[in-house]
């Protein structure tokens, strides 16, 4: 006669949810049943859990109030109106790539020009090593570069680039990465907590709201 697999009380309790829901394999189920036959405490637990779960069927289903849909439609309309307003502040994600791409091209062109224009002392071709100071000078200053013409519409002065990147990164994030940190009474939450932490972004928002 084959020996039935045995479990400890601890194992019985750990596996109990799956046992009740029928998710255990045949051998495990048999082991749980065998332990229940042998252990009064675990058997009592099993019976009491099953019976109490049946009592859940007495719970009534709560229906939404009569004006639930009407109020929801009002909120949706308000949300759409609110959503349109802050868009002026947001830099569209593709613009970031265009700006940095143009900046890279301008930098490379500046370096190449200087290298080719500079006379070589030895007569040998000069390897195009970018000079650090020159690279800094060619870093994009927003008002001076052509990229400023294609800069997104901002109603406030642009902050330093890293802060702007924070804004853009947020706008490009997929919905699943949002943490829906909700507070009662707060609406139109398109701002992530990390974005609000950035002082320059707070300044942007404050300027926009006229504070």
């Amino acid at each position: 006669m084959p020996r039935r697999p045995s479990l400890s009380c601890r194992q019985f309790r750990q596996l109990h949810a799956e046992y009740v829901d029928g998710y255990l394999c045949g051998e495990r189920t048999e082991a749980m049943r065998a332990h229940g036959d042998d252990c009064a405490a675990c058997s009592t637990l099993d019976v009491s859990v099953r019976r109490s779960l049946l009592a859940l069927q007495t719970l009534p289903t709560i229906e939404p109030s009569a004006d639930f849909r009407e109020r929801l439609h009002e909120r949706l309309e308000l949300s759409q109106v609110t959503e349109r307003a802050p868009r002026r502040l947001r830099i569209q994600a593709p613009m970031r790539g265009i700006r940095w791409g143009l900046a890279s091209v301008v930098t490379a062109a500046s370096v190449a020009f200087l290298v080719l224009a500079a006379p070589s002392k030895t007569g040998r071709p000069v390897s195009p090593r970018p000079a650090p100071t020159l690279a800094r000078a060619s870093m994009p200053a927003a008002p001076a570069l052509p990229v400023a013409r294609v800069a997104p519409v901002l109603t406030v002065p642009a902050p330093v680039a890293p802060a702007r990147v924070d804004v853009v990164n947020y706008a490009a994030q997929p919905a699943e990465s949002f943490r829906f940190e909700a507070l009662p009474g707060v609406t139109a939450v398109r701002r992530s907590p990390s974005m609000l932490a950035s002082p320059s972004v707070r300044l942007q928002l404050a300027s926009f709201s006229g504070q």
Binding site: H16, S48, L53, A55, L56, E63, R69, L72, S79, A182
Partner: protein
């Protein structure tokens, strides 16, 4: 091809009967393709379920309605970014769950505490007196009403983390994997919490059965 499909959907407005036959993800596609009724249908499908889930979690019916509405607003706002390879129900439940948890977190910081959401440990002195009343009347309706109240109170008394898993499993019928995704826990934690929640629930309710 996707654009062609969307254009086709725009060209032929779907009737309500046709929309009702679509699954959730297809409704999302239809809505984004211009079928405005599709979102109403999603609301209709989930409003009661979400309301019951959130109500059982936060214990306040009015607030639960506000939170469910907020969940729908957020779904509507981010619908275009929803990954349709995933389950819509998991997504919307996750949003509702996060809102409910934030609500409870804010309440715990607020000096005005809602009694329904007090989550004390399993101490005998915390049990309300009416549960110890063993004078059972023969009237069946009274017994059923009493049991309903008992069960309702027992669910509310569960610790927040256990209650959430318990409600999602026992009342909403979510799978362990879905619960793990909604509550941002691993599978082992879900099973452990479910075990504890069931034991705690049985401990309260069993004497009355």
């Amino acid at each position: 091809m996707r654009q062609a499909a969307l254009k086709l959907e725009q060209a032929k407005p779907l009737g309500r009967a046709q929309l009702e036959g679509l699954d959730d993800n297809a409704l999302v596609t239809s809505y984004l393709g211009g079928a405005s009724r599709a979102f109403d249908l999603l609301v209709e499908r989930y409003q009661t379920r979400l309301l019951n889930f959130v109500y059982r979690t936060v214990g306040d019916r009015e607030r639960a309605e506000d939170l469910v509405q907020e969940a729908f607003v957020r779904v509507h706002r981010h619908l275009a970014r929803f990954d349709r390879s995933k389950k819509f129900s998991t997504w919307i439940y996750t949003i509702a769950s996060n809102l409910a948890k934030n609500e409870l977190r804010n309440r715990s910081r607020n000096p005005l505490v809602y009694f329904q959401t007090m989550t004390s440990g399993w101490e005998d002195e915390d049990r309300p007196l009416e549960f110890e009343d063993t004078n059972a009347r023969p009237d069946d309706e009274f017994d059923r009403k009493h049991l309903r109240e008992l069960v309702d109170a027992a669910v509310k008394r569960l610790p927040t983390h256990h209650r959430e898993v318990f409600v999602l499993r026992e009342l909403e019928g979510r799978s362990y994997e879905e619960i793990a995704e909604i509550t941002h826990c691993n599978l082992g934690t879900v099973k452990s919490r479910l075990n504890r929640a069931r034991s705690a629930f049985a401990e309260i309710v069993q004497p009355a059965l």
